[in-house]
């Protein structure tokens, strides 16, 4: 895709702050200001098999943004990858804009789900993985991004327990952990997934190589979780 007419080149990670500032109006807005940016970039740039040219391809990978709060990084990545027109970004949150402060799948090209209320993405991802399996579509991966505090919602634990027991190998969760949960024990996130039978890896949520390795690790017969640790929200 092209970020600016006349300079056709693929968008890079360095373009993301500029795209985000179109939404926030903050020229100094850097990647560190959003916990999900590097995770989203590595997924869309190197892992997910999705294309704006084939948004309805049954064999596409599915990425479900469950943590719908603060979606600027998501919209920036979707714009960088050609799903969302760059000129939509400045209208962010306005009445006529398809881009709200929580995404709506019926309005945002490339968005697999609408989110905002926490704890809905993982159950939807479980159903998506089950639906693909039932149709013999064994290739597509299903990814869902949740926040560490979002895991407070009990609906996630219904999904985690079931997916582990069911051995939903094509299901992947990335937990962006900015230590924002009020009641959490160190290591508790991956321990809970592992207890349910998931493959689990913890990685530096800002290190693109580490994230890529964590995202692409083999996990035969089991769903996979990556706990991506970033700066604590309170810091």
């Amino acid at each position: 895709m092209t970020i600016t007419e006349g300079t056709p080149r693929p968008a890079t990670h360095a373009d993301l702050p500029g795209l985000m500032s179109l939404m926030t109006g903050d020229e100094k807005h850097g990647p560190a200001a959003t916990s999900t940016l590097d995770v989203l970039w590595v997924l869309y740039d190197r892992v997910l098999r999705v294309s704006p040219k084939r948004p309805d391809d049954p064999a596409r990978d599915r990425f479900l943004l469950s943590k719908g709060h603060g979606p600027m990084a998501y919209y920036a990545v979707l714009a960088a990858k050609g799903f969302v027109p760059v000129d939509w970004l400045p209208g962010f949150g306005s009445y006529d804009s398809p881009l709200g402060h929580h995404p709506d799948r019926t309005l945002v090209p490339g968005a697999e789900i609408g989110s905002g209320s926490l704890g809905h993405g993982l159950p939807l991802a479980v159903g998506t993985a089950l639906g693909l399996r039932a149709q013999g579509l064994d290739e597509p991966a299903v990814w869902v991004l949740v926040g560490d505090a979002e895991l407070d919602e009990g609906s996630n634990h219904e999904a985690i327990a079931f997916a582990g027991a069911e051995g939903l190998e094509r299901l992947h969760t990335v937990v962006v952990d900015n230590a924002s949960a009020s009641h959490a024990l160190p290591g508790g996130i991956s321990a809970r997934f592992e207890a349910a039978g998931w493959s689990a890896v913890t990685a530096d949520g800002r290190d693109h190589e580490a994230l890529h390795s964590a995202f692409t690790v083999a996990h035969p017969g089991r769903p996979h979780v990556v706990v991506a640790r970033v700066e604590p929200k309170s810091a």
């Binding site: 789900i113 609408g114 209320s117 704890g119 939807l124 159903g127 993985a129 089950l130 693909l132």
Partner: protein, 300 residues
């Protein structure tokens, strides 16, 4: 006669054989009825365990991949407990499903209030785009289940109950049937309430409409019926009293009319016992209905 619930699993098992797009999602309740179907279609009969938020969320996820989920448990755990999942995972995601409930308002009175869901249809009325079927006989349940599955990607609720009428009617998944014609008022009997309504109105000169699809509400049928019978309308519903009062009022918004909504009361009885005892306690047996309907139309 079998019950609607006993009819459900065999009918949907046949549909699973016929239509590769259909998947059944359960939360333990009702799984035995699908044991054979699960052997034939292991990836299209899914039991998520006692997890009702996941029940709806996973059902919606199946729909997002193009399948037609049939989701089943007791009404209280299908509609009330995961209500936000109905609103968001189905409504907001623009995903369809067939929700089939059992236990209704008080099918298991000895089980107490935790297993009673008289408010299910009223709750669905706060959401957009739901079709609601309330069969009054196992044969009607079979017909309406097939309509529900065949309804594209619509959101459809099918409310099964052990309460049933003596005979089935030729329901079509949309329109009300005129069972009796009179000149002094229209009584709308919903699903399993028909027999009691017919007994109650035996000596009254009222029209009786039989409604098994309550959403969308068949406003045209009600308007037609009022042409000869006048605009005194009594709704007799097997769930929360007054659930369809607003729909009847909208149907008759441009003419003077009176509406009496009868059904299950709001107050928790804190009683166990039998279905018949609960029907009587809510004033829905034929004798009580005769007096309540008779007084209303006489007061016109």
């Amino acid at each position: 006669m079998d019950t609607m619930r006993e009819r459900f699993a065999p009918v949907v098992s046949r549909i699973l054989d016929e239509d590769p797009r259909v998947a059944v999602v359960l939360a333990e309740i009702g799984k035995d009825g699908f044991a054979e179907a699960r052997r034939r279609h292991p990836h299209r009969v899914i039991n998520v365990g006692i997890r009702e938020q996941l029940l709806i969320g996973a059902g919606a996820g199946l729909a997002l991949t193009g399948l037609r989920p049939v989701v089943h448990t007791f009404a209280s755990f299908l509609v009330e407990r995961p209500f936000e999942q109905l609103k968001l995972d189905l409504g907001h995601q623009d995903a369809g499903a067939v929700l089939v409930s059992a236990a209704a308002s008080f099918d298991w009175p000895a089980g107490g209030y935790t297993h009673m869901a008289p408010g299910d249809v009223a709750l669905l009325d706060t959401l957009d785009g739901w079709t609601v079927h309330v069969p009054g006989h196992p044969d009607e349940a079979e017909t309406l289940l097939r309509h529900a599955v065949a309804a594209g990607d619509d959101k459809v609720y099918v409310r099964l109950s052990v309460q049933a009428n003596r005979q089935a009617h030729a329901v079509d998944g949309a329109r009300a049937l005129t069972v009796r014609e009179g000149r002094r008022g229209v009584v709308v009997a919903v699903g399993p309430m028909l027999d009691a309504v017919l007994d109650a109105t035996e000596g009254l000169d009222t029209t009786v409409l039989y409604m098994t699809t309550v959403r969308p509400f068949d406003a045209a049928a009600l308007r037609r019926a009022t042409g000869a019978a006048g605009t005194d309308v009594v709704l007799v519903e097997p769930y929360l009293a007054g659930t369809s009062t607003a729909a009847a009022g909208e149907a008759l918004a441009d003419v003077p009319h009176r509406v009496l909504g009868l059904g299950v009361g709001r107050r928790e009885l804190r009683r166990y016992g039998t279905v018949a005892e609960h029907v009587a306690a809510h004033g829905l047996d034929a004798g009580a209905l005769q007096k309540r309907i008779g007084d209303f139309v006489a007061g016109a």
